[in-house]
Amino acid sequence: MSMNNQGRPTGTGTSGFASTSGSALLPNEPLLFEIGDTEHSGVDLPDATITNTRLGGFERKTALDLAGLTEPEAMRHYVRLSRLNHSIDSGMYPLGSCTMKHNPRLNEKMARLPGFADIHPLQPASTVQGALKLMNELSHWLMTLTNTSAVALTPKAGAHGELLGMMAIKAAQDAAGQGHRRTVLVPESAHGTNPATAAFLGYSVKSIPARSDGTVDVQAVKDALSPDVAAIMLTNPNTCGLFEPQVIEIAKAVHAAGAFFYCDGANFNAIMGVVRPGDLGIDAMHINLHKTFSTPHGGGGPGAGPVVLSAALAPFAPVPFVRKGANGLELVEHEEDQALGRITAFQGQMGMYVRALTYMLSHGGDGLAQAAQDAVLNANYIKARLGQVFSVPFPDYPTMHEALFDDSFLAGTGVTTLDFAKALIDEGFHPMTMYFPLVVHGAMLIEPTESESKQTLDRFCDVMEELALDAKAGNAARFTAAPMKAPRRRLDETRAARSPIIKWERPAETLKAAE
């Protein structure tokens, strides 16, 4: 034990209490409504005099009761709250299927240029030629990387892109007199958004079982195809992290049956610049700009989900889109014939287009391919380093950008996948994706992305290995009690769902006192 110059003991072992190191900087932060009130404000605005209002008697009579904070108070409230979050910038975020890669700040700077941030979606086209050029450039990159004929930029996120892609398929089939096709094939391992999207459009969903090696069997697809099938929704690379080896045969079988191939592009990061989905026979695929092209996830959005389309579907793209006109570029906002119409107000997620194009230009075609290869290298490195201790459900193929383990290595330990993941929090890492895909028992899906250095990967693998050995050694309590060092212990989700409290109510005693 060392002594400091006040003669007091310092260093480890000075206290009998469990370590809560760091928590002095993470105080509990009250709710906005507990610290603010309706008088305080952090914005100086003049009090306007209106002699002749035009509110027609619809003036507000009920109180707003919105709490306000002055600027220093607001700054502190949101800075303190922010410190309760894990983030990519503070540590590895190996969420499988989510592609939590580095978010370059150049993207943010560019998106804030007044020429992009301070332009209105309904300004005359003559005043936004640069914005339309940007949309064209982004389209060019997306079509080139996928070898497709068209791209619909407007979808607001991946699931919105899925919706648009399936709408385009429906519109194409209606136009061809094939509107009777009412079934969509979805492999068991698919993201939940796939069956949700198909059902949203009134299709019935037919599940395709996975083969024991984690891939989709072309024969199973052929068996499921019928004149009633509109499309297959297939993720490639799939959610087990595997490239579908028979994808071309699947596409051919689907097309031969008069159906379309919707590809969920959530995992495009594994193959960008290396494989063009158009060469595999896809008809539509959404690309999550917030995954593959580094626009920030922002705690749950905003995203952007442009959809690339094959020549067969290109005529069914929604409005608006950019076209060359007599006076430069123009925005086509209405179309008479077959188009499916409009799926959002205005032009979609321009702020995300700027960030994604900035990222593409920074990387170049060569850098994007290198990024995909590094993402795949990193996932295989994790799989190789952990494969001896963890159980690998699908050892036959190299993995792509994510490493999948099941929970058989935890058998008999009393530790679940959830417990294991929560213990990872105490070691400074965000948990991996858990219990997804559904086809693997107790799945742990790890996607390191290309952003992680070998040093970080080694530290992650060391921690994972140490945790696995500790679980096997019978130290279940470390896992079942985890996390112990996070701002909160495990939260009671059942209670939250049973009697939902989803907004703040003034406590009863304050109400009484106010009377």
């Binding site: 906005l32 905003p302 993941a421």
Partner: protein, 447 residues
Amino acid sequence: MRYLPHSEAERAEMLGVIGVPNIDALFSAVPALALKSFDLGLPAHSPEFLVEAHMRALAGQNHAGSDGPFFVGAGAYRHHVPATVDHLIQRSEWLTAYTPYQPEISQGTLQMLFEFQTQVAKLTGMDVANASLYDGSTGTAEAVLMARRLTKRNKIVLSGGLHPHYRDVVRAYLKDDADLVCLSASPEGQGDILDHIDDQTAAIVVQTPDFYGHLRNIKTAADAAHAKGALLIVVITEVVSLGLLEAPGALGADIVVAEGQSIGNALNFGGPYLGLLATRKEFIRQMPGRICGETVDAEGQRGFVLTLSTREQHIRREKATSNICTNSGLCALAFSIHMALLGEAGFTRLARLNHANACKLADALEAVPGVEVLNKTFFNEMTIRTPQPAAALIERLAKRGILGGVPVSRLEPKDHSVGNLIVLAATELTTDEDIAALTSALAEELA
């Protein structure tokens, strides 16, 4: 490449650990004919300063709102966003976090969402709100679907004052699947929606202030809808109006959808924006999108989690209430911070300032020979009729450096009766000089 940490030596070392000779071996499942069988022909990687120069050149070809007098509204509004907001949302812990699926290390985002939901519920006068949707237009479509689930009825009636883009989005979402009645455009604020409600009607959709700026009578619409067992969906594209106008919840609305862009979020040429959705407590399990709820942790401390996820796609798959996953988290944060900075006092002053400037604008436009202001009521937006086709007039104003509003024909190209109409908005940023510049330019163009 500055974003990629590995050296060539490290890559080789890692391939050695994996036990493969080269990177191509890891792509062995890819059919040979599809693997790098192409030359992309894309430019190579580029230093930061060159990328920046390229993007600045593109940005420079756009006329920004700050470049001159600006009166464009029609569903997106140019307001001042305090510097604090943009600084805070760029903090790593907000910007680069994922959806808060691991609540123990996401309490910042979760508490913010709980505060956001409370703010939205208070603003709209509704019991509950969700944690955001993509934007107002898709939110309106989601609300329509929600109303159909709740009432098990199929007919939807859209007011002629609903933003035309919102109408088109509802139409695309419902395509040949529902009995959709879209009433024709009502630039004078006229409305016959009450005549279309019957006992098959799931919901009527009324926007206020409407697309043309008129304030609509929500109480009357609510009573008429409820008399037939239908729901009233109120749509608001200018959320600042709620600082002066009665909350729809207090007037009988069943679902309120709003575009939240005006608070905390820039124009961004149309996105990302922020969909607000609020409703009655008893409808909570049919609400689309994520919801944050309060609970306690293992030590009894208050904490927050995403809840009621049995409505959502990742649990319910094809039985989910919506397929939405990623929504508008960071835009919700910007909204929530801006709203906290305003507070009731600031928000009310902001709304008054908007209305005051709009009153000045209306009075000034009324004085321009040939211009007729169609609104008796408005908040910060109004419609004028001019003696000339509006689209060409707006183009000529733009050549003078004035963005003079939105020609209605741009959104309603088939309706020839609206060809001479312009929708204009004023906000707290509109100055007396801006108004003078617009009206004198208009007077010259129309002379």
